[in-house]
């Protein structure tokens, strides 16, 4: 138990070989055994899960289709609304809010596909961080080395998958919060195009950049969960209208017709050499010889920082006035400082965003896929304030998103794929495509996985 894929579990449940109730009960045993060492879960939804699993078994027994993810346990970052639970978003302040009256539509859609919700997961408070060192709920630990961070802000989501607690989790990504923890825990994560998956009934952070997406241990599971969650939702004003564009059937199409390049310039200057070597190795396996420079990526990261700071602090202005002392100590002073940003800085950053988007779209006339590191290095230690990248000492917490921020800034779809280990800790690569081309990101991820270049490596302690 632990590292079976979601699709393997679903196949056994669908065929009647395994009862969903038995599988889910066993999943809770695994979670209860492993979670104390990781601190990935904040709450378990045991009675609800067993009822959902029972319904799946009844469908199988009645000869009805229980869905493509029948009996598969999944968990969500605790910024998703779960009916009957208070949406904490990693905070102490939200404990004062009433319980959610309905599930997030992404949870409902996974339930409709037969998946079973088993709990909620730890995160940086209000998603403002890359480390999941949460003072209120404790730090989430990296399954590959518990002295190190799992990444953030969806750290619980990544640790739960990498630690073999569940095969699918959901998280959010505003500046890298799916891709950073995927990289640092060595799993696959999808940040879809901005507007692809409904964000309704999730606690927001930065309206301009907020995305939701899945974490898994394989490309096929990622595609299956993504397909189950797609579709329009009038409850989210940025969610794309029109039908789902399913990708699971396209994973085997390979590299045929795809022009793939590696990101140079900023992305080579801002990452450690050992990370670049792994990206180079993965690129070479794909036959990539070309390098492209994403123009003004460093400035894009700076503009994303300013927009995040401004929108993120405005969201919490009321509580910053009334009860600043109740915020996470690691972000409180940043949020307070962010309330004083002049409007002109914010508007210039949004104008720059339009310019940058137009320039990056020109690149996609000549390439279909761009490869770049997902993080500048492997996981730092819990409590580590400073890190060194290419000889430059910098604050570790705000800078783990150096590689991811210039991409989510304009909403491009990305799959983070695990491309190797450095001193026992994993690191990932971003597979970046043009808007709405998640299918291409996932195709390249599938090719790399088939080659054995990208793969999930179970943590040593769990073997």
């Amino acid at each position: 138990m632990g590292f079976e894929s979601a699709l393997e579990v679903a196949a056994k449940v669908r065929s009647g070989q395994v009862k969903a109730v038995a599988h889910v009960a066993a999943a809770f045993e695994t979670i209860k055994a492993r979670n104390p060492g990781l601190n990935a879960f904040v709450s378990l939804t045991e009675s609800r899960a067993l009822a959902e699993a029972k319904a799946v078994d009844e469908q199988v027994a009645a000869g009805r289709d229980p869905g493509p993810l029948a009996g598969v346990p999944f968990a969500v970052k605790n910024l998703f609304d779960v009916k009957g639970l208070t949406t904490l978003a990693g905070s102490k302040i939200n404990r004062d809010l009433p319980p959610a009256t309905a599930d997030s539509p992404l949870i409902s859609r996974l339930n409709a596909a037969g998946a079973v919700l088993v709990g909620t997961l730890n995160m940086d408070e209000y998603a403002y961080g890359f480390t999941t060192e949460n003072t209120h709920y404790g730090p989430t630990r990296n399954p590959h080395n518990p002295a190190h961070i799992a990444g953030g802000s969806s750290g619980g989501s990544a640790a739960a998958v990498a630690g073999g607690l569940v095969p699918i989790t959901l998280g959010s990504d505003t500046n890298g919060s799916i891709r950073v923890p995927s990289s640092l825990c060595g799993i696959f994560g999808l940040k879809p195009t901005y507007g692809r998956l409904s964000r309704a009934r999730s606690f927001p952070f930065v309206a301009s950049f907020d995305h939701l997406g899945p974490f898994c241990r394989s490309t096929a599971d990622l595609a299956a969960s993504y397909d189950a969650m797609q579709g329009p939702d009038p409850q989210d004003p940025v969610c794309r209208p029109g039908p789902a564009e399913l990708v699971s059937g396209k994973l085997g199409l390979g590299l045929e017709g795809l022009r793939v390049a590696r990101a140079g310039g900023y992305f080579e200057e801002s990452a450690e050499k050992a990370v670049l070597d792994l990206v180079q190795h993965a690129s070479a396996a794909l036959g990539v010889t070309r390098t492209v420079e994403i123009p003004e990526a460093g400035r894009a990261r700076a503009a994303a920082f300013v927009i995040t700071a401004t929108e993120g602090s405005q969201l919490h202005l009321g509580n910053l006035r009334k009860r600043a002392a109740d915020f996470e100590p690691l972000i409180r002073d940043r949020l307070l400082a962010n309330t004083m940003i002049p409007a002109a800085w914010y508007v210039q950053a949004q104008r720059f965003r339009r310019w940058y988007y137009t320039e990056v779209m020109k690149l996609f006339r000549d390439v279909d896929v761009i490869l770049a590191p997902a993080t500048p290095r492997t996981a730092t230690k819990i409590g580590q304030d400073m890190m060194t990248i290419n000889g430059v000492e910098m604050l570790s917490r705000p800078n783990m998103g150096l590689m991811t921020q210039p991409i989510s800034f304009i909403g491009l779809p990305v799959v983070a794929v695990p491309v190797g280990m450095i001193d026992g800790l994993p690191v990932g690569m971003q597979v970046i495509c043009a808007p709405w081309r998640e299918d291409l990101c996932l195709r390249v991820s599938a090719v790399l996985e088939k080659m054995g270049v990208a793969r999930f490596t179970p943590p040593k302690e769990t073997l």
């Binding site: 195009t193 901005y194 507007g195 301009s208 940025v238 794309r240 003004e296 460093g298 400035r299 700076a302 503009a303 920082f305 300013v306 700071a309 202005l317 910053l320 006035r321 600043a324 409180r332 002073d333 940043r334 307070l336 400082a337 962010n338 309330t339 004083m340 940003i341 002049p342 002109a344 800085w345 508007v347 210039q348 950053a349 949004q350 104008r351 720059f352 965003r353 339009r354 310019w355 988007y357 705000p398 304009i410 909403g411 491009l412 808007p435 709405w436």
Partner: protein
Amino acid sequence: MGAELIDEDFVRRAAALQGIEITPEQMPGVLSNLQRTAQLAALVNAFPLDPVADEPGPVWRP
């Protein structure tokens, strides 16, 4: 505005405009964070853009 113009007096007044009081314990962290954001904003502000032609889209659809 540059990071060097941001001092405790500025922070106190700007916070008061937002109805926020900065405690002595919070002041060093607030100051260093706002100065860091100012440095990054300076990089963005230095980029030449036309306020008419480069208007941000009212709805962002990649």
